[in-house]
């Protein structure tokens, strides 16, 4: 009966080691280097949270005015 550590070690020792072929490995590396150094495009990641915040603030102001109008 083998314990967990034995089984894990057997798997680590005996699993077939394989790698992509040399041409494929060079191709992936070259593409990644290109991606690393590519100029970064415009990012609009800020747009959605800003819009959501603006809409939320507008709603609160509108509700506040509505309450004021009711009690005037």
């Amino acid at each position: 009966m083998r314990d967990d550590a034995d089984l894990d070690r057997l798997l680590a020792d005996h699993a077939v080691r394989a790698d992509v072929d040399a041409i494929g490995a060079r191709r992936i590396r070259a593409r990644a280097h290109d991606a690393m150094h590519a100029p970064r495009g415009l990012s609009f990641a800020w747009l959605e949270p800003t819009l959501a915040l603006a809409i939320g603030v507008t709603q609160i102001v509108w509700a506040f005015h509505a309450v004021l109008a009711l009690y005037r």
Partner: protein, 188 residues
């Protein structure tokens, strides 16, 4: 240079240094490829997904936190790519919603033909016989030396589920190693 090479690599990636990318690539390429090939069952697809993992690292390297653990980061991306592929293909791997389902009827794994020796063949057959979920759990713990908690975080599963997956995977390995060889079987 930092004592811990990974911290130096992460710092280099945050600066956009190509040498840091190359160091990570050389360290993790074969390991990730082995994982992806076993999870997809196809070496050509594994190469495509491997490329995507490293392209994401190249594009997002500057956004990494200083204390990023690269193995966890890379395997999280790889796991999501495998799940995403399984969802879009809707065939073969049933990782998406049927993660714990029984494996397909016996088909040779991607590396069984390369196995040299009985133990290596038994290990490869055991991995092929596991469900994809059990296979990736034992891969992260046995090959990548992650703790079960860290592997559970990478795979977004609860610690209990991870323990069950590891127990099933180890039982398959134990059974495969104890299985008699064809010669022994014919003698019986």
């Amino acid at each position: 240079m930092d004592d811990d090479p990974e911290r130096a690599w992460v710092a280099g990636l945050r600066r956009g240094d190509a040498w840091a990318f190359d160091a990570v690539y050389e360290t993790y390429r074969a390991r990730l490829y082995g994982y992806l090939a076993r999870m997809t069952g196809r070496r050509d697809l594994a190469e495509d997904l491997l490329q995507e993992v490293f392209l994401r690292l190249a594009r997002r390297g500057r956004e990494l936190a200083a204390d990023t653990r690269l193995a966890a980061w890379l395997y999280t991306v790889a796991h999501h790519l495998v799940v995403s592929h399984a969802r879009s293909a809707k065939v073969g791997l049933a990782l998406a919603s049927e993660l714990a389902r029984a494996p397909e009827p016996r088909a040779a794994g991607p590396f069984e033909a390369l196995a040299a020796g009985r133990a290596q063949l038994a290990i490869e057959r055991a991995m092929t016989a596991m469900t994809p979920a059990d296979r990736e759990a034992i891969w992260l713990v046995a090959i990548e030396r992650m703790s079960p908690q860290e592997a559970a975080a990478v795979l977004s599963v609860k610690p209990d589920a991870m323990r069950q997956r590891l127990a099933r995977a180890r039982a398959k390995i134990e059974a495969a190693l104890d299985e008699p060889t064809p010669l022994m079987r014919s003698v019986r």
